[in-house]
């Protein structure tokens, strides 16, 4: 067995006045780079970034599974409540994690819901962060399907969530990586994807505030795969047009999960960007 340089750890994590058993992974040394996974998935999506020596020689790459996701547990009492992500709980969790690990001015990169929340981080925590990278960023996405079907006793959640995620990827991305991305979605707990989509499709409308983002304090990069129809290049353009200094790139041939559906192509975009951030 050939070992990867990634190590994983569990810890008791405090956020929102609750304690969660949290799982995170890391690899490399240098500038902290915190990676945020998409709705209903987990940190495995960033496997290729954590395994890339060109990045880990200068960056300490870290990704945590959000509570309820991946190997992180839901809190005690989860059986009595509906899981719902909100702008406040999401930003709070990210900043609590940064403090818990003592990360000094990290770069934060998030995809989809993570690509949205970097806009909120830019508004509220710019001085504590070195740079922000939004993948598949939209300031808001109108609901075009009913996410309640992804959490229904008569619909297999894993199969339905997997089928939704499948379509968001590019037909040009490699089969193996696409189906692994689907597998992550199929492993989500009941109602977790839907609970994340509450932030993405309902509560987390950030459109009215993005004009206040100051990229001179914390640079903001927006990278969007051209095949994404959930956070499409048009959605990202609409956001970027209102944020002075935001740098936008359309990633050719990629879809909604660039880091996991086509890692090689994605790294081709990410490496030079991280070099630019490092040399600032």
């Amino acid at each position: 067995m050939k070992l990867e340089p990634i190590t994983g750890r569990y810890g008791a994590f405090q956020s929102q006045n609750r304690t969660f058993r949290l799982y995170y992974e890391e690899a490399g040394q240098g500038i902290p780079l915190l990676c945020l996974h998409t709705a209903g998935s987990d940190g495995r999506q960033y496997r290729a970034v954590l395994n890339d020596p060109a990045i880990t020689k200068n960056y300490r790459v870290i990704t945590f599974d959000m509570p309820w996701h991946g190997k992180s547990s839901p809190p005690a009492g989860w059986q009595n409540e509906d899981y719902r992500l909100t702008t406040g709980s999401y930003t709070g969790m990210i900043m609590d994690f940064i403090r818990a690990l003592g990360l000094e001015r990290p770069v934060v990169m998030g995809c989809s819901i993570g690509g949205r929340i970097v806009l909120d981080l830019a508004l509220k925590h710019a001085r504590e962060l070195r740079a922000l990278i939004g993948l598949q960023t939209g300031a808001y996405v109108e609901r075009y399907y009913d996410a309640a079907w992804l959490d229904h006793p008569e619909v297999h959640g894993g199969r339905a969530c997997g089928a939704v995620a499948y379509g968001l990827m590019s037909p040009l991305s490699p089969e193996k990586e696409r189906w692994e991305t689907v597998w992550h979605y199929m492993q989500g707990g009941p109602g977790v994807f839907t609970g994340d989509l509450y932030f993405y499709q309902v509560e987390g409308d950030i459109r009215s505030r993005i004009g206040e983002i100051d990229t001179s304090v914390c640079p903001l990069y927006l990278l969007t795969g051209e095949y994404d129809y959930s956070a499409s290049p048009r959605d990202t353009e609409a956001a970027a047009a209102r944020i002075k200094g935001a740098k936008m790139t359309v990633m050719k041939g990629l879809g909604h999960f660039p880091m996991s559906e086509n890692p090689e192509a994605f790294l081709g975009y990410l490496r030079p960007l991280l070099e630019e951030i490092r040399k600032r």
Partner: protein
Amino acid sequence: MIEGLAQLVNRDPAIVRWGRRMNQTFMVAVGDTQFLLTVRDGQLQVEKGPFTQRSWSFAIRAQPEAWEKFWQKTPAPGWHDLFGLLRRGEVAFEGDQRVLMAYLMYVKLVLAAPRNL
């Protein structure tokens, strides 16, 4: 395209396995032309309309131009998935959404199969 779908699907075990528990009839409309797709344990049978008093669990309707873009070997962005068409307003899902969502992967793979012709 739809007429040849049964042969295309039934010879592909990688598609059939996703519909192995499916026993349903659903409608696909290409403009005004209706097709009924009956699934028995993942095996597909296709009938072309018009129909008189036939039942179906859900229907997927789009214009011929939309299906043509959807069936390109490499579809353009946004035309590559049923939910992509949904966001564009190019497709309508009617009837029992529970059945559609329960078998969504199979339905997606079946309707995308003509791309491999």
